[in-house]
């Protein structure tokens, strides 16, 4: 061993071949996709309902067969063999191919729905027409590009959810969590809004509303057309509007206090649901470097500021000035927002300042000052609120964040950047929940004394790019704003070091310089310093 070797590359040649079931699954799944693609090239299927059923059924059963082939004959346990050797999960050729295909799909979906068969006036054609029968069946209306997307999305969460459950069948926590994600996608995101649409008539109309989609994730919730239609829909509409406000200001803080942000991000949310199921094979691709963490903090909180500013401007733009007509005037609203933000900021500053990193303090002060200055400027000199028209802000946000970030980059780049790019860098909802999780929640990942062997499985498989090992090997609990509580770090840890749990705030972050197991005197000595 007294020679020095410089070559650090290990190639690895795992058994690559797919087994018969996996090949069959791939074939059947591809068949389903091909039907849909053919519809895209305007091949007119005679019995659309039948062909759609065949297509969706094939995709679903293809994925299920594939996972059966992959896991059926294996003993329950961690199934990460060869992850870094396979082209698809190691940013290889297949990964790029898939990334490009997904990205193209999103671009067409968001910007050129005509190619999917959406016609300005006149009946649907192409892919969208293929989905008409299902849409008619559910809501009584013809399909839209969003209905197509929603259906495929739900199928993906379902099919890959089943795969996930097979893969982690040794882990009851993961199984239950995945059933929850599948349930919320199927019912809340997919079926209920369609059924709600059935209630609509000439005189009564509710906007499309996925009840579990909370502002600011659904940044459009308080736009004028929606608020108008909520209000015009009488009691039910008003109830929904109030629910929208209550869910962000009351329900969310309570649940996050009790369980951490995971109740939403890993158990309910649709974006999270897709990341956890279809995105699972890519979770290890997240960037673990310290600089990625820095970028994450700046970007995600900037998006949060953007959405607050945008929503404020939008609501401000349609409120009235006359206090006798309605109590909530522009000025009242604007002042309330400013007061709310200032109080929130002051509370964090007074009680939790020492828990904020330096850049977080600068950032918070900076952003608050800018918002308050712009508001003051508006009042004093009558300049446009936040300098831009509300509509400009709204459409810019919708384009940059709503479409490009959450769709094209967030999902299209799964095979390149990992499955939670959107959740980590872009989602303003995650930013709010994260702030609370970091500062005011019972949730933490407990580290088990001195058992960590620094192997790095936890960090590698953390989809949020958290360097879990850095905490575990110090015996420190993991309390990070970005942790979505997926539980995979705990699952893959070969030494039983990590446990997601809720407990008292007292002693939530134990930072021990010396770990359990060593001389008690040394423990005391060092941990006191």
């Amino acid at each position: 061993m007294d020679t020095i070797q410089r070559n650090m590359s290990l190639t690895g040649e795992p058994p690559k071949a797919l087994n018969v079931l996996q090949k069959l699954g791939t074939l059947i799944g591809m068949f389903g996709l091909t039907i849909i693609l053919m519809a895209g090239f305007n091949i007119d299927f005679p019995n659309k309902a039948l062909w759609l059923t065949i297509a969706l059924g094939s995709i679903l059963s293809g994925v299920v067969l594939f996972s059966l082939g992959a896991y059926r004959n294996k003993i329950a346990g961690i199934k990460n063999d060869g992850v870094w050797f396979k082209s698809i999960s190691n940013r290889g050729y297949l990964a790029w191919l898939m990334g490009i295909a997904l990205t193209l799909f999103y671009i067409v979906l968001y910007f050129y729905p005509a190619y999917l068969g959406l016609n300005e006036n006149g009946a649907n054609t192409g892919i969208i027409a293929l989905f008409d029968p299902l849409s008619m069946f559910l809501s009584g209306n013809p399909a839209s590009e969003w209905f197509v997307y929603g259906t495929l999305y739900t199928i993906a969460i379902f099919a890959f959810g089943i795969k996930f459950i097979w893969k982690y069948r040794n882990n009851r926590h993961e199984k239950i969590r995945t059933v929850s994600v599948m349930f919320f996608q199927l019912s809340f995101a997919f079926l209920i809004p369609e059924f709600m649409a059935r209630l609509n008539s000439e005189t009564f109309s509710l906007p499309y509303y996925d009840l579990k989609n909370i502002w600011p994730l659904n940044y459009y919730n308080f736009e004028q057309y929606r608020v108008d239609s909520f209000i015009s829909a009488g009691d039910i509409g008003l109830a929904l509007l109030i629910f929208g406000v209550v869910s962000i200001f009351v329900i969310t803080p309570i649940l996050t206090y009790k369980y951490g942000k995971r109740w939403y991000c890993s158990w309910v949310c649709g974006c999270g649901g897709l990341a956890e199921t279809a995105g699972d094979p890519f979770r290890h691709l997240s960037d673990k470097r310290m600089v990625a963490w820095k970028i994450e903090r700046w970007v995600v909180h900037s998006v949060l500021v953007f959405v607050v500013v945008m929503t404020t401007a939008v609501i401000h733009s349609y409120l009235g000035d006359d206090a006798t007509k309605y109590w909530l005037t522009r000025d009242v609203f604007l002042i309330s927002v400013a007061v709310f933000l200032t109080v929130l900021f002051a509370a964090i500053w007074i009680f939790k300042r020492e828990q904020l990193k330096k850049d977080a303090r600068y950032g918070a002060i900076g952003y608050l000052t800018i918002i308050l200055l712009l508001t003051a400027l508006h009042f004093s000199s009558g300049k446009t609120l936040f300098l831009f028209e509300a509509e400009t802000l709204r459409s810019t946000y919708g384009f940059l964040i709503g479409a490009i970030f959450s769709g094209v980059i967030g999902t299209g780049f799964y095979p390149i950047f990992g499955s939670r790019v959107w959740c980590r860098y872009g989602c303003p909802m995650a930013a709010i929940l994260g702030l609370q999780q970091r500062l005011f929640s019972r949730f933490r990942i407990t580290t088990n004394g001195g058992q960590c062997i620094s192997c790095g499985n936890c960090s590698t498989y953390c989809e949020m790019g958290i360097d879990v090992r850095a905490y575990a090997q110090k015996g420190e609990n993991i309390v990070r704003a970005s942790c979505v509580g997926c539980g995979i770090c705990s699952a893959v840890c070969p030494r039983g070091v990590l446990k997601l749990e809720n407990g008292p705030l007292e002693g939530r972050i134990d930072s021990n310089e010396i770990l359990l197991g060593n001389d008690p005197n040394l423990l005391q000595l060092i941990n006191r310093n």
Partner: protein
């Protein structure tokens, strides 16, 4: 400025460096012949299995060392000249030191088997071993069968590694149950069955006689001592334990035994030279611990302690209650306190064993029969909370108490099925039937 030189960039050397940096401004250099940066030896298996890449096994990003002013030197120390306080590298380069920490780790054991130095015969310890394995056993076509000699923790890891590439494995274990010089019979038997479920050809009570060469000096088969059977193979893994890596110190004047002899302060017989981690041998074993402890956390703890001593706060290495953990294919294992193997347990130690019908979970609790006190616990497939069990050991609780409160020590993920009731039941029944 005082120059602290550490030979070995494993967990013990690196921990020492980190803590010296925390406590002082001394100049620190870490030397290693193995890799440029500290990586986790414990994760070697995951690289071969494709769970991780080499980068992921590095606990600190590369910028960490510069930022903390810890100098890294790649090179092999050939001799130590303690009179002049100087190291000589292969190639003749020298480096002087004021204080020297030896954290040189272990090397795989070889017991003088004929053929043990043939090609395609290897251990699994260093990064270079892993590279060699990649050459010897890249897939099941090049390596049609592997034979592993020695049923310990590294042997079973190697078996798991090879089986992920569908390479058939014959696993020779000298004892009559896997690792049952350490594990009680009930625990060991469950692991035997689990190993066989993974299609490993597990041969218990079987010794290696010799390794046969082919025309190119490569291993082509092994011969079994007991039966004379010849098993053709393309790889022989020698995993019969490790011992301190001290050959290069033979003429250094540093006192050696099985390892580098140290006192409780981790000082060698020579002033300003210390030894920590796998390579250190305590002159007096501490409690039930072995005099050479080759596990991860003891290396870490010795690093923590020696840093104190070097920074002027002379301190004894004083480990708390024994604990350890491992994973046997899909079954996690944790142990706290002392649970001896059935053959080696002292007269006063009795065992309570519970096993789940699915054959992947069991526990064994050791009790001192003279006073009913709890001595230790082995848990397979069930995670336990270190802090709680450690406290019970310190408080010298009775086994009755431990069984009653076992639920509070559970560390399994939320929503996992719990077995405390079934364990309690079995514990009570044991007294009724006896």
């Amino acid at each position: 400025m005082e120059h602290i030189v550490i030979i070995g960039n494993g967990i013990s050397g690196v921990t020492a460096a980190r803590h010296i940096r925390k406590l002082s401004d001394k100049r620190i250099t870490i030397i290693s012949a193995e890799t440029d940066y500290f990586f986790s030896r414990t994760a070697l298996m995951y690289i071969y299995m494709g769970h991780m890449k080499y980068e992921h096994t590095k606990p600190y990003e590369d910028y960490f060392w510069k930022k903390n002013r810890i100098e890294l030197k790649r090179g092999y120390v050939h001799t130590i000249d303690h009179l002049n306080k100087q190291l000589v590298f292969t190639g003749g380069e020298t480096m002087s030191f004021d204080k020297l920490i030896l954290a040189v780790g272990s090397k795989p054991n070889k017991f003088g088997w004929p053929g043990q130095d043939l090609k395609a015969v290897q251990g699994l310890y260093s990064f270079q071993d892993l590279q060699e394995l990649e050459v010897n056993a890249p897939n099941k076509d090049v390596c049609k069968r592997a034979v592993i000699v020695g049923g310990g923790l590294i042997g079973i890891e190697l078996a798991e590694m090879l089986s992920t590439r569908n390479i058939p494995v014959t696993f020779l274990v000298r004892e009559f149950g896997f690792w049952n010089g350490v594990l009680p019979d009930g625990d060991s038997a469950m692991i035997n069955r689990h190993i066989r479920n993974h299609n490993i050809d597990l041969r218990l009570g079987t010794n290696l006689r010799e390794i046969l060469p082919d025309d190119h000096g490569r291993a082509r088969a092994v011969v079994i001592e007991e039966t004379g059977e010849e098993i053709p193979c393309d790889l022989v893994g020698l995993t019969a334990g490790v011992s301190p890596n001290i050959e290069f110190l033979k003429d250094s004047g540093i006192e050696l035994g099985r390892g580098i002899k140290v006192n409780r302060y981790l000082e060698t017989n020579i002033d300003d030279i210390y030894a920590i981690g796998d390579c250190a041998e305590q002159r007096q074993p501490i409690g039930n611990r072995k005099s050479v402890e080759a596990v991860w956390y003891t290396g870490r703890m010795m690093g923590e302690v020696v840093a104190q001593t070097i920074c002027g706060n002379r301190m004894q290495y004083n480990p708390g209650h024994w604990f350890n953990s491992a994973k046997f294919f899909d079954i996690e294992y944790q142990t706290y306190g002392w649970v001896h193997s059935t053959a080696l347990k002292p007269d006063y130690e009795s065992h309570f064993h519970w096993i789940h019908p699915d054959d992947t979970k069991c526990i064994t609790i050791a009790t001192n029969t003279t006073n009913g006190k709890f001595l230790g616990i082995n848990a397979f497939g069930i995670r336990l909370r270190h802090e709680i069990i450690d406290r019970w050991l310190t408080e010298e609780q009775s086994t009755d108490y431990v069984i009653r409160n076992l639920g509070s020590a559970n560390f399994d993920p939320e929503f996992y099925l719990r077995f405390e009731r079934s364990i309690k039941q079995a514990y009570t029944n044991q007294f009724q039937t006896n």
